[in-house]
């Protein structure tokens, strides 16, 4: 192992309570490390990240004249900054520090203490041999652009936008649909208080529209993102509405005047339970109050032979049939993703007959049916316009199920109780809730369940096997039969009903994977956006300056979504108010003396950070553009490129350290 006489290493190994010490013999590692070259001091301590642990580094550094620090403890992704700061406080450049992960990478994953200890010693040896070659570096400070981009205008995005704009910052709110509101805009009442969803949501929607600090970009999508924390460049594509937004006042004269006298096309907002015209507004309180034309159904776009009676009816001249998608560029410092969820597709559970039996509905369709401003004005009738006398609500459709989604969707028990209450109120039918376990954790939630138990709703505990129209007696004729095992009485039951409601679960949004790629973040196994830490950083992502909130992070009800939106807003504001960010100095640079001018590196850089200097005949890296992946470094045959923090010699010394005892 190469020796550097000037390096004086202080080594510390953390017990992490019992988390490490139970599986790694920390004293023997400390004794072992004490004998390694350059090590001046070696200690073990219960909690290195605690104040006394860090203080110890400070004192030792002075007494023992340390100039390198190595800490063996948890993952650097968790505490590298903590110890870098301690190193800096001890008067040592913070990059003269190396961390050894012996918790996530050893004690938590191994079962043989002897082998885990051998591994810990190897890793420690590697770190000590590496740290000797560390260089003193400075973090670059760059200012944070105070403007914020929020993607997704459901209740999460709306809440976050108002929080941030109320703090005096500029917000761009990008929503892919023609209106903001998300799923909440479709509900009549919300659990557990049964307050009217529109009454609490629509004022917030108009507050967004009116807020001088918020620019609402509806019917728009983010096409590309470049840059880094504090300085993102975003391209937003605005889809054509064929209406000049600023001119439309939402009088709907055009809708009346449309050549289609009758509405003919499936209305997405009403879950297909009603029809709309090609020129339409999703719902009366849609925000912005601007109509749009669906170019897939509009006669003008299909044949070019429409008299355009809509446009003629508009006395504000708001129509523009030649609109094209427009790309707008924004510069922001932080980004909040609030892109929500999608409901489980009931057709994926064919045994429940959705799509086959007209009287099998999804919960979302029923949300619209019970809604006073829904397709039937709140009159709950079946597709043949008759009123159901018996209704079965099936919980956990597409949740807690090996065949579809394994996770609990968290909101379905509660909204099923809500729908049971509302359906009872609207129809006075017999209502049967089929549940596996009743999950009602939340303030006032169990009380809501109690209330339902006293309202004469039937509860049957058991997973439903099948819904069919196969009657085995007179009583079942013409009905849908729900077959389920009642696990409380231990027998299979057949309940004939007029209407079946499928409580569909919460899934990652349809385009979650695309969004993840555009914003360079990760998804968890299920496909929801991955938070930086499940407990300590629930709204942060692994990409600095990008935060997540609401159902895009995992199944969540409205109170939790709003709380998370507040947390994400606070994180963004904290970043903005600090004024600047410090960047990892892990960029690459080229030694002109060594560069042979072959230009192999230039095409490799995904960020076009490398250019060729014709006069000197050498390549040059623009440090401001380099993101520090190190790809060019590994490719340069002349060994002319160095990546800070990941220099060849540092990595090689790590390899020697690991293998040469």
């Amino acid at each position: 192992m190469p020796i550097n006489d000037e390096a004086r290493v202080g080594f510390y190994i953390c017990h992490c309570g019992h988390n490490i010490a139970n599986m790694v013999d920390v004293t023997s590692v400390a004794e072992y490390a004490a004998k390694l070259p350059n090590v001046v001091l070696s200690r073990d301590y219960k909690y290195m990240c605690s104040d006394p642990g860090q203080e110890m580094i400070l004192k030792d550094a002075e007494v023992f004249k340390l100039n390198r620090i190595v800490v063996a403890s948890c993952s650097p992704l968790l505490h590298e900054n903590t110890f870098r700061n301690a190193t800096a406080k001890a008067g040592i450049n913070q990059f003269y520090f190396q961390m050894v992960n012996i918790r996530e990478n050893a004690s938590w994953v191994h079962e043989d203490k002897e082998l885990a200890t051998v591994k810990a010693k190897d890793l420690v040896r590697a770190a000590i041999s590496r740290v000797v070659f560390h260089k003193a570096l400075e973090k670059k400070k760059v200012p944070v652009n105070p403007d914020v981009l929020i993607v997704g205008g459901g209740i999460s995005g709306i809440s976050a936008a108002l929080n941030i704009a109320n703090a005096g910052k500029k917000v761009y709110l990008v929503e892919k649909d023609p209106t903001i509101g998300g799923y909440m805009a479709k509900f009549d009442k919300t659990f557990p208080t049964l307050d009217c969803a529109a009454c609490i949501l629509t004022p917030k929607m108009s507050a967004v529209l009116k807020h001088p600090g918020i620019t609402l970009m509806s019917y728009s999508e983010v096409a590309a993102v470049e840059g880094y924390v504090g300085n993102y460049q975003v391209k937003v594509t605005r889809k054509p509405r064929y209406i000049i937004e600023e001119k439309c006042v939402g009088c709907f004269a055009c809708i009346d005047a449309c050549i289609f006298k009758e509405a003919k096309f499936s209305d997405e907002f009403n879950e297909g339970l009603s029809k709309r015209k090609p020129v339409y507004i999703p719902f009366p309180q849609a925000t912005p109050q601007v109509v749009l034309i669906d170019d897939k159904t509009c006669i003008h776009f299909k044949t070019g032979k429409c008299p355009q009676s809509c446009a003629k009816a508009c006395d504000r001249n708001a129509f523009d049939f030649d609109q094209k998608p427009v790309t707008q560029e924004l510069e922001v410092g932080t980004i909040l993703l609030c892109t929500g969820f999608q409901p489980f597709d009931a057709a994926r559970a064919p045994y429940y007959g959705y799509g086959r039996y007209p009287n099998v509905y999804t919960s979302l369709e029923v949300e619209r049916l019970v809604n006073a401003s829904g397709p039937t004005g709140g009159n709950v009738v079946l597709r043949d316009k008759t009123r159901p006398k018996s209704i079965g609500i099936i919980h956990c459709v597409g949740s807690r199920d090996e065949k579809t989604n394994k996770w609990c969707s968290r909101v379905c028990c509660m909204y099923s109780l809500k729908l049971a209450h509302l359906l009872k109120e609207h129809t006075d039918a017999e209502i049967y809730n089929f549940y596996i376990d009743m999950r009602t954790p939340g303030k006032g939630y169990e009380e809501f369940y109690d209330k339902l138990l006293n309202e004469g709703v039937h509860f049957i505990r058991g997973r439903v096997a099948e819904v069919s129209d196969w009657a085995i007696n007179e009583h079942e004729k013409g009905k849908l039969v729900i077959r389920a095992e009642d696990t409380l009485i231990g027998m299979v039951r057949r309940i004939p009903v007029d209407m079946v409601v499928l409580a569909v679960g919460i899934e990652p949004g349809k385009d979650a994977q695309d969004i993840r790629r555009v914003f360079n973040i990760s998804c968890s196994n299920e496909g929801f956006f991955l938070e930086r830490h499940p407990k300590l950083a629930p709204v942060e992502t692994f990409t600095d300056g990008i935060f997540i909130a609401g159902a895009c992070q995992g199944p969540k009800d409205i109170p939790d979504s709003v709380a998370q939106a507040g947390a994400a807003a606070a994180q963004a504001l904290a970043l903005i108010d600090s004024g600047f960010v410090e960047l990892e100095p892990n960029t690459a640079f080229i030694n002109e003396e060594l560069c042979c001018g072959c230009q192999v590196c230039i095409n490799l850089c995904p960020y076009h950070a490398i250019t060729f200097d014709e006069t000197k005949s050498v390549s040059h890296i623009n440090e401001a553009i380099c993101k520090g992946c190190g790809t060019c470094v590994a490719a340069c045959g002349s060994g002319a490129i160095t990546q800070n923090l990941f220099e060849d010699q540092q990595i090689l010394s790590e390899i020697y350290g690991l293998l040469v005892e």
Partner: protein, 150 residues
């Protein structure tokens, strides 16, 4: 390949694992947090991107006595730096040829795409590779190189 060592149940291979910061290193953290047990054979070296892995590192690790080398990066299309993993893949194919020529069994070098959420996959890969290496026995390369030097 020595049969004596093969029958030695106590022998444990040493795998140098180069993991990219964003995907596979995070997956190994996740495996830890989820307490997924796997063989104590890997020694992780963290790099920002699998594109940083210089073929020299791999050759050097083999010459210094690594029994196996595992490279972990983001899935195609998911690289934090757009396409570093594709560069890595190209070098991997090249390296497979080179180590083959050096007389190293190609199963000793493995490349896996393991995303931040795939702690379980990480566990499987390490256990599988450990098993393969147990069957192959200690890498002969270090000794060969040393006798050549002598």
């Amino acid at each position: 390949m020595s049969t004596i060592e093969n029958s030695n149940k106590d022998w444990s291979p040493r795998i140098i694992a180069f993991f990219c910061n964003w995907c596979t290193y995070t997956a190994s953290d996740l495996a830890g947090v989820s307490r997924l047990r796997y063989a104590p054979t890997t020694r992780v070296i963290r790099v920002m991107c699998s594109g940083r892995i210089d073929p020299e590192f791999v050759i050097e690790a083999f010459t210094q006595g690594a029994d196996g080398i595992l490279i972990g990066g983001c899935h195609p299309g998911d690289c934090h730096y757009s396409e570093g993993n594709y560069k890595c893949l190209r070098r991997y194919h090249l390296l497979q040829r080179v180590i083959g020529q050096m007389g190293i069994d190609q199963r000793r070098l493995r490349l896996e795409w393991i995303s931040a959420s795939e702690g379980k996959r990480l566990q499987e890969v390490v256990n599988e590779m450990t098993e393969t290496l147990r069957q192959l026995g200690p890498s002969p390369i270090k000794e060969v190189v040393q006798t050549v030097i002598k």
